[in-house]
Symmetry: C2
Subunit: 80 residues, 2 copies
């Protein structure tokens, strides 16, 4: 089973990496970019067939390791 966890900074948290990319895009002539936010996309291959069990485990993984829940949010997709 393939799952995707997207981890991204919470609204209002400064994103210096996003700012740097935004600035670089501007200097390359891409002038209609209003904002850039950068997050992590974590793709996992799981040895699990039960979707509910997988979702529960993925949530635990996100909460304990993959996301810093003080400044980051995450969403979970089970691909197939």
């Amino acid at each position: 089973m393939k799952a995707i966890i997207n981890v991204y900074l919470k609204e209002g948290v400064l994103d210096p990496q996003g700012k740097a990319v935004h600035h670089a895009l501007g200097s390359l002539g891409f002038n209609n970019v209003k904002e850039v936010r950068i997050g992590k996309q974590i793709v996992l291959e799981l040895d699990e067939t039960d979707r509910e069990k997988a979702m529960k485990e993925l949530k635990e993984m996100a909460e304990t390791l993959l996301a810093n829940t003080v400044i980051e949010d995450y969403d979970i997709e089970i691909a197939e």
Copy 2:
């Protein structure tokens, strides 16, 4: 217009970050994870209403700055 560009290592390219996360998940007791791959999710807010023009520009941004196309692939989603 909101767009998302996912940038991720090509198949076969070693992902040390993914390996480290895989190892850490194992030591936390998540034993049914077969593989972990980590990519970047870049969320852009564009001052553009024409989808085709936006897609063309996003492709250019990915090719020129956001992805290292030697080792990375990318996909583009226009959210709204």
